[in-house]
């Protein structure tokens, strides 16, 4: 597993996202209520740029006319056809067993910790978000890491 530094924590405030290109993949990094999640920016349905979709909640119902609106901000809807996925797991609502988008583990590392390993590659880090670019680590900031 390779670790990619993709953003500073304050670059992606709660409710926002950043789409990055790492390991030849387009990946959306989301801050959902303070937790960071990363999912592939490709809908398993038609290949749409899913991470450009609306983040929303899930509407459930136990009977017609009753709306149970849950997981507000935890669901992404593909902009092409509206399929809904849970950002944290990549699972689809209507077919969680078979239909899912690839989700990647994330970490938050302090700049101080990263700075102690100036040779990022040797320490298992890859610079990001853009291949070939160096991510400049500042000691007083925290960074979002995506594990691929």
């Amino acid at each position: 597993m390779t670790k990619y530094v993709v953003a500073t924590v304050d670059e992606i405030p709660p409710g926002r996202r950043k789409v990055v290109e790492i390991a030849k993949r387009s990946i959306g990094v989301f801050n959902v209520k303070g937790n960071f999640y990363a999912i592939r920016n490709q809908c398993p349905h038609g290949g749409g740029p899913m991470c450009e979709g609306v983040t929303s909640g899930l509407v459930r119902s136990d009977k017609p006319g009753n709306y149970d609106y849950i997981m507000r901000g935890e669901i992404i809807r593909c902009p092409w056809h509206g399929w809904e996925f849970e950002i944290a797991t990549g699972q689809s609502w209507f077919d969680p067993a078979k239909t899912k988008v690839k989700a990647y583990a994330t970490d938050v590392e302090s700049g101080e910790a990263l700075a102690r390993n100036p040779e990022l590659s040797a320490a298992g880090f890859q610079p990001g978000p853009y291949s070939g670019e160096t991510y400049e680590v500042e000691v007083d900031r925290d960074y979002v890491i995506v594990n691929i």
Partner: protein, 364 residues
């Protein structure tokens, strides 16, 4: 009176010994005054004093060629208005175990809710006494005054008191989609009573036959019949009628079925992205339709290559949805064996001929 059997209109020899249930047989009122014994004096006089001759239907021209079986018109009244002819032309020669009656008298064209309710009750009492109680093979469909769902629900409760009624019917061309919540008192009553809700081709709500307005020719009207049924099934599912009333069965009558598989493909596909609008639809719409909708088969869409129709039936993915019907006294086939799809398995044929009707209408 001499037996007036119709030529080439009888049970085919190869169906010998098999149970047969006809799920769509039409009865017609010979004259509005025939309802007077069943109608309150207030409404009898209302009809007489206003000079009302009868409720006119514009569903088809009365003399349209090939519409009715030749010889099905009694001496007096329209085809389907004589029990004796029904027995001689349908029940006996087809050796029917049961025939489910439908009456499409134009009650839904009346704008007065009270009058519509009185007419529906009179029609249903007429059906009960002059048909259902006269032949043990007959089962009834009660006409509902759809103008007023509360009145319609009362009519469901009335019908439920008479075991000969197995169904209540509403027209496919209703004033608005039948799944809408305003109609739910009807479904609530039907579920409690264990009665099937039949959606019958036709209706005089004033809505045109097609979504693009009135067509010019009768052939367009006739071919367009499935359009209303498609809208109704989508409405029943999307509005969550079967979530609210999980025991309810809807039967489509004379609506065809060959259009259903592609409609279900499209419905399932679009539901995946749009389901948040209708979160109570927690299963693919096709599953809901397969569990709750049953369909009479006449008139059968009959491609030149019979295998094509067998493929469509395979695509329903269920063998319990289709129910045999003749749609007597309407003429839909030249040879009686053509009333069933050609080339289906023996097991499926048995289910279509009687098993599915038994399960749907709890006959027995």
């Amino acid at each position: 009176m001499a037996v007036q059997q119709l030529e080439n209109y009888a049970r085919p020899e190869q169906w010998a010994g098999l149970d047969l249930v006809d799920t769509d047989v039409h009865i017609n009122l010979d004259n509005l005054r025939s309802l007077f014994p069943y109608l309150e004096a207030r409404w009898c006089d209302y009809i007489t004093e206003s000079g009302m001759g009868g409720l006119a239907s514009n569903l088809y021209p009365s003399n349209a060629p090939n519409l009715f079986l030749e010889g099905s018109r009694p001496d007096q009244g329209p085809p389907g208005s004589s029990l004796e002819l029904l027995q001689q032309q349908l029940l006996d020669p087809w050796q029917l175990q049961y025939a489910i009656l439908n009456c499409t008298y134009a009650v839904d064209s009346v704008h007065n809710d009270d009058f519509a309710a009185a007419l529906a009750r009179a029609l249903n009492r007429w059906q009960l006494h002059e048909w259902l109680e006269q032949d043990p093979r007959l089962r009834g469909s009660a006409v509902l005054p759809l103008q007023n769902p509360a009145f319609a629900a009362k009519e469901v409760e009335w019908a439920a008191q008479h075991s000969q009624f197995v169904q209540v019917t509403v027209p496919s061309r209703s004033r608005e989609p039948l799944g809408r919540r305003g109609f739910w008192p009807i479904y609530d009553a039907a579920q409690r009573a264990g009665l099937v809700v039949g959606v019958q081709a036709g209706g005089l709500s004033g809505n045109p036959v097609t979504p693009v307005g009135w067509a010019t020719y009768f052939v367009e009207d006739y071919v367009s019949v499935p359009l209303a049924f498609q809208a109704q099934l989508m409405s029943f599912v999307a509005e969550g009628v079967f979530v609210q009333y999980p025991e309810l069965t809807v039967a489509t009558i004379e609506g065809g079925f060959s259009w259903l598989p592609p409609m279900m493909w499209r419905f399932d596909k679009d539901w995946k992205g749009l389901r948040r609008e209708v979160p109570w639809v927690e299963r693919p719409p096709s599953e809901v339709i397969r569990d709750h909708v049953r369909m009479t088969i006449a008139p059968l869409d009959r491609p030149d290559t019979p295998e094509f129709l067998v493929e469509v039936i395979d695509q329903l993915l269920r063998d319990d949805m289709l129910m045999f019907s003749t749609d007597y006294p309407q003429a839909h086939f030249a040879n009686s064996a053509d009333s069933l799809p050609e080339g289906i398995s023996g097991d499926l044929q048995t289910k279509i001929m009687s098993g599915n009707a038994h399960a749907t209408y709890r006959l027995g």
